[in-house]
């Protein structure tokens, strides 16, 4: 008797076919170091596997490509259970800057590039970068304020068009 579970797996002649991912589209909405690096590492990782990658920067994610802000990203020390420190400590003056500096030092020791260098690596690897029109208008940001590798400022609708095609995945960070 045939196992019904096997029937649900897509297969050709009984062989399980694993279609590779073709394209990863990331929407970055946050400015915290952990969110920005997670997004960049995933985009770079995709390119290293031969998978196409795009990043759409919206809301606070625009900080990660804003010329004046991209080298000054922080990690939250208050309201961030991942920091494992009591709230009163995390809220002390200078604590956020200190924690952010420590994290950047640690990342440098692991050969992780700075944000600007990472953006250079991503664009050289063929990752397409776009800003969100709505967020840019809200924060009064225009293309000149952004990292030179950002292709254009587009709408979410435009981004969905770019994500068309089988094997494409959209990830929200």
């Amino acid at each position: 008797m045939e196992d019904l579970l096997i029937k649900d797996t897509p297969s050709i002649n009984g062989v399980d076919t694993k279609e590779p991912i073709k394209k990863m589209c990331f929407i970055l909405s946050k400015a915290g170091i952990e969110s920005v690096y997670a997004c960049f590492i995933m985009a770079n990782g995709a390119r290293m596997e031969g998978i196409e990658a795009e990043i759409f920067f919206t809301f606070f994610g625009l900080d990660a490509v804003h010329k004046k802000r991209l080298e000054h990203l922080h990690i939250a020390t208050v309201g961030n259970p991942g920091m494992h420190i009591p709230t009163f400590l995390g809220g002390l003056p200078g604590m956020e800057s200190y924690a952010s500096r420590m994290m950047k030092k640690q990342m440098d020791a692991m050969d992780l590039p700075t944000i600007h260098e990472f953006l250079d690596i991503l664009t050289a690897s063929g990752v397409t970068l776009h800003g969100c029109k709505l967020a840019a208008e809200m924060f009064k940001i225009n293309k000149d304020d952004l990292y030179e590798g950002v292709e254009d400022i587009i709408t979410i609708g435009d981004f969905y068009q770019r994500a068309a095609g089988e094997g494409t995945h959209i990830v929200f960070v």
Partner: protein
């Protein structure tokens, strides 16, 4: 497991990476390059291959960042030389293990 490359039996792992570097030679590299869709290897390719082999010999972890700052090539060129998964392909051709790194 073993694989027949150009008439020689080469020891590889299940992803096709050489498990015994002493078995590597340029002809094997050329054959693997063809199989990986990289095509004919020119001087630039060989320069990158030598660089990677040097890093492996010194037990230096290989990252895309290191390749970019190697002085041998830049990242854009690296992606052009070894399309679609440059570090994976270049290391296979160079006869060294696949770099384990997220950057």
């Amino acid at each position: 497991m073993e694989k027949l490359i150009n008439g020689a039996t080469i020891k590889v792992n299940d992803e096709g990476y050489l498990t015994d570097f002493t078995q590597w030679n340029k002809t094997i590299a050329e054959e693997i390059a063809k199989q990986e869709g990289v095509g004919t290897l020119d001087t630039k390719h060989w320069a990158v291959i030598s660089f990677l082999q040097e890093q492996h010999k010194n037990n230096t972890p290989i990252t895309i960042r290191k390749v970019g700052s190697s002085g041998v090539t830049d990242i854009k060129e690296f992606y052009a030389l070894f399309p679609n998964g440059p570090l994976k392909k270049a290391s296979k051709i160079a006869g060294i293990p696949k770099p384990v790194s997220c950057i």
